[in-house]
């Protein structure tokens, strides 16, 4: 199996072939165990990565089958960072009690997982926007200000604000396409 191509491994992984799953698990474990992350539950992190990869593979979102190993490794490293932040926060003396996993409590856990993935992608797009777009997003979508109010803050006309926000929205649209292509 070691000599199988990434595309073969992906095809087998998508259909649940045990030897393909074992190969992918090996890739994931090398990322989870290799970075001295000191996770409370490294096997749990491995499982989380495998679930993400399963969802992506079955939804046909792995764009470059011949680079599946790199993709798996990238997903594993991203998950390691996210879990690392969560565990550090929960270990903090002043951290509030850990919240229950909402996916377990909702009536539709699949929808909840999709909602979280969508939110995660939106956060990534937001962080890649230029600084002036991030500021506008905060005023418009988080603080919910009118165009006139934003204009007063920035010292420009309401119409100018609308044009700037529209341009930022088009930038966000372009980033979504780019991010989706690399997810």
């Amino acid at each position: 199996m070691d000599t199988a191509s990434d595309a073969d491994v992906l095809a087998g992984f998508r259909t649940g072939r045990p030897e393909s799953i074992a190969v992918v698990r090996g890739w994931v474990q090398s990322a989870v165990r290799g970075g001295n992350w000191r996770f409370h539950d490294p096997e749990g992190v491995t499982q989380e990565v495998l679930l993400t990869l399963t969802r992506q593979a079955r939804a046909d979102r792995v764009r470059q089958a011949e680079r599946f190993r790199s993709y798996a490794y990238s997903v594993a490293r991203r998950t390691c960072v996210t879990v690392y932040h969560q565990e550090r926060k929960s270990r903090s003396v002043e951290a509030p009690e850990a919240e229950e996993d909402d996916a377990a409590a909702t009536s539709d856990p699949h929808a909840e997982v999709e909602r979280r993935e969508r939110l995660d992608m939106t956060l990534l797009v937001f962080q890649r926007l230029p600084a002036h777009c991030k500021d506008l997003w905060t005023s418009v979508f988080i603080d919910g200000l009118q165009a006139d109010a934003v204009g007063r803050e920035l010292g420009i006309s309401a119409n100018n604000v609308r044009v700037r926000v529209h341009r930022c929205l088009e930038k966000a649209r372009k980033l979504y396409r780019e991010v989706a292509g690399h997810v």
Partner: protein, 292 residues
């Protein structure tokens, strides 16, 4: 400006609910016939979902960005890179995550235990010593092992030591009375053990250069051994400052609890005597050690 453009400009304000009622009615009528504007509304609604996020999450660079920053920085534009670096300067856990990502780049195997040991030794005060000098120390150190105390800090090795990281006692850090919990049981049959005492010091504290320390070994409160240490002996391990200490379990009594402490040594200063690290260890008579 076309009608579609005019309505497109109003979409974000429709989504954030700040349009006047007549404008809202007008745009809703337009949306029923314009798929392009409906797409734009969907996109704007996704931006509005940012309200659901924890503000703290908005401040941490997204995991994908950190991975890109390490693995393929050329794919990030200059402004995003600058933003990430600004956040890294303010976020210790983000910096730690970067350090861990760098430890294993894509396609690399994680370092083997002997490679990690070498990296650990190279980070001690013996960093400048070349390999040949290490061999000389091994030969000369055999004599020291027979004459020096049970704790060593100079990296004298006969065989690869058992490496153990030991974090400080939280109760001590909080200023409460130390507990007698045994932090680590060390096999009495181990030749040498490299203990890394993880302190609460920061790199900045060490760089200030005005602190001196004393390492102590006590049994039942009685001082068995002590030795001064300076800032040179410390290592930075995962952004924590640790003091590597070699111990020789065979020179200590089996089934006996010892207290290892690292204190500030600054006579006349209010900090003098303050413990930066204080834990109990027990030397087991058996051949395998474990954390309790």
């Amino acid at each position: 400006m076309s009608e579609d453009d005019r309505y497109a400009l109003l979409v974000p304000w429709y989504v954030n609910g700040t349009l006047a009622p007549d404008e809202t009615a007008e745009i809703e009528e337009h949306l029923s016939a314009c798929s392009s504007c409906r797409d734009l509304v969907g996109l704007a609604r996704r931006q509005a979902e940012l309200r659901e996020l924890d503000p703290d999450a908005m401040e941490h660079p997204h995991a994908s960005l950190l991975v890109q920053y390490v693995d393929s920085p050329e794919r990030l534009d200059a402004e995003t890179t600058e933003w990430i670096e600004g956040r890294l300067a303010a976020c210790a856990s983000c910096r730690d995550a970067i350090d861990r990502l760098r430890e294993t780049r894509p396609g690399e195997e994680s370092p083997r235990w002997y490679e990690k040991l070498w990296q650990g030794l190279a980070a001690t005060a013996l960093r400048p010593v070349p390999a040949a000098a290490y061999l000389l120390l091994l030969f000369v150190g055999a004599g020291f092992l027979l004459t020096r105390g049970p704790l060593e800090g100079d990296g004298t090795l006969m065989t690869a030591p058992l490496r153990i990281s030991l974090s400080g006692d939280r109760d001590v850090r909080a200023g409460q009375a130390p507990q007698q919990r045994i932090a680590m049981r060390i096999p009495g049959s181990a030749g040498t053990v490299l203990l890394e005492l993880e302190t609460e010091l920061s790199v900045v504290d060490l760089q200030a250069g005005d602190l001196a320390f004393v390492l102590e070994l006590r049994r039942d409160g009685e001082l068995e051994w002590s030795e001064p240490r300076d800032a040179e002996g410390f290592v930075v391990r995962d952004r924590r400052v640790a003091l590597p200490v070699l111990i020789h379990p065979r020179r200590l009594d089996a089934n006996t609890v010892y207290q290892i402490a690292l204190r500030i040594h600054k006579p006349g200063d209010p900090l003098d005597g303050q413990a930066l690290f204080k834990r109990s260890i027990q030397i087991d008579a058996g051949s395998t050690g474990s954390a309790p």
